[in-house]
């Protein structure tokens, strides 16, 4: 494909992660959204949040497990135990608490992790188990009626850290480009963009001059440091933002990256976009490399 904007000859470096999907439904979209947003809140980066989570897509009544409105949510973590812990506390604090909601497993996997398995004890002995097909469900009496949750959900290997970096002349156009990109992959299955609104402005590099920090600002992409450090930016770049994409498989991430870049290049704003690049650590840390040029072929 021929792009109107410059594509840097570089690659995005991504990591092996563990992922799980859950489906949250509620009486209406509003309350499903409250639950989903609450659950995926403070889940931008595994560095401090323990998990990277986001809304994957909206569920229509036709496909949602109980015929109500809902959202599908993906959670990514570096280890099974972290994923297990985060899932349990988040479902317990954000969905069990949220009026009218129910939560279901969103995927099958060889390995199952607990969803409602321990939450059921909230029922204090009044919880009722129902096994339907191969799955077990728990019905926990709560003040608005009952909370329905599936006992466990699947866990699969996944990839986190796919990304594109947008280099623009100014902040307005950079943000606009990012929004366009995010919108384009909003309903794409199997991927999420965990950062606020899908966009991150604090790209990072490994290490710091301070011993206690393992990461620090990605100075190569900071416009203000262009003349101070070895920079990757050209003179006309006034703002850089990154979109981080986690996906279940390599293909999913590639599709998302391609869709996002295409969306930007088709948009009116593309004139002010200097280039699209990608973040990596020299290929030493991650197990996956996504070459932008190859993706766009």
């Amino acid at each position: 494909m021929k792009s109107k904007i410059t594509i840097d000859n570089t690659f995005a470096e991504a990591f092996n992660m563990k992922a799980s999907r859950i489906l949250v439904t509620a009486d209406n979209l509003k309350w499903a959204k409250h639950a989903a947003i609450s659950l995926t809140g403070f889940a931008t980066s595994v560095i401090a949040c323990g998990v990277e989570a986001g809304i994957e897509c909206k569920l229509s009544r036709k496909i949602s497990p109980d015929g109500r409105d809902g959202y599908s949510i993906l959670l990514f973590s570096m280890s099974r135990s972290a994923l297990e812990k985060q899932l349990e506390t988040r479902v317990g604090q954000c969905i069990l608490t949220c009026p009218t909601t129910a939560v279901f497993s969103g995927m099958e996997g060889d390995d199952m992790i607990p969803l409602g398995k321990n939450l059921r004890y909230f029922g204090d002995g009044h919880q009722i188990s129902k096994k339907i097909g191969q799955k077990r469900f728990w019905r926990v009496p709560v003040m608005d009626g009952e909370f329905l949750c599936e006992e466990s959900t699947g866990r699969v290997p996944a990839i986190g850290g796919g990304n594109i970096i947008i280099l623009a002349q100014d902040r307005v156009s950079c943000l606009k480009a990012c929004e366009t990109a995010i919108e384009s992959i909003e309903n794409q299955p199997n991927v999420i963009t965990p950062f606020p609104g899908g966009v991150v402005r604090s790209g990072s590099k490994v290490g710091s001059k301070y011993k206690s920090l393992i990461a620090s600002t990605n100075d190569e992409f900071c416009p203000t440091l262009r003349n101070i450090v070895k920079s990757k930016l050209s003179k006309n770049v006034g703002c850089v933002m990154e979109i981080v994409i986690n996906g279940l498989t390599r293909d999913d991430i590639e599709i998302a990256m391609r869709t996002a870049i295409k969306a930007i290049s088709k948009n009116k704003i593309s004139a002010k976009i200097v280039a699209v690049s990608a973040g990596n650590y020299g290929g030493k840390l991650g197990q996956h490399k996504f070459y932008l040029k190859r993706i766009l072929k």
Binding site: T100, K131, E146, L148
Partner: protein, 264 residues
Amino acid sequence: MSHLTLKPKIKFKFRLDLNSISSFQSMSVNRVKTLPLMYGNKEVRYKDLFKITGTDSLNIVIKSSNEMMDNVGKNFIRGNLSVHGNVGHCCGSEMKGGKITIFGNALNRVASGISGGILRVNGNCGDYLCGKSNHKNEGINDGLVIITGNAGDYAIQRMRRGIVIVKGNVGKNCCTEIISGTVIITGQLGKNFANKIKRGTFILKESKFTKNYTKSNVCEYNFMPFLVKHLNQLSQDKILSLKSFQRFNSHKTASNLSELFLIR
């Protein structure tokens, strides 16, 4: 590939034990044709009694069946089996997976000791539906059983898990000694319903046994829309429609985990 089809060549005089149908899937068609089978006190081969056509042993069809055929789908594990006509005793007994559909009536002990899969009878069935099989201490242990017609006496005894749906009426002594599970009956109930149960969910139209329970407050049950949708999907048919339910709980002899939903 075309469905493996069996059609009786003769009118059966004696009861036939057809439990070996469930082992067809691991066999070639020629092996099926020569598989031994007892007819009366003589050993015969399948091809002596049935006209066998087709090759796809994952999809088995029995045509013009009759109530002399016992143990149809016993120990069934995977694939599809459809039976056009009536079947005898113990149909789908100890079934573990796959899907069996009967277009006709069945005799006693349908789905006894079933522990997985979907069994559907588009017709009536006899006594001891979903009960204890000869080799088990408990009744239905899992799976989905749908009877579109009526069921006889002693249905669904000692159920442990799974879902049973009877669209017609059931006879007396139904659902005794249930440990747990979900039972949906949209017809009339006979005498003595749900004695000595432990837990379990009943979804019923008939209200005469609600006296054994305490009435719950009116509220929303998130489980119900889910169950309704799930069942309709599985049965590919509108088994239940999303109506409002009145819940009753804690059967007088059972724990407070037992419940009854009355379809309003």
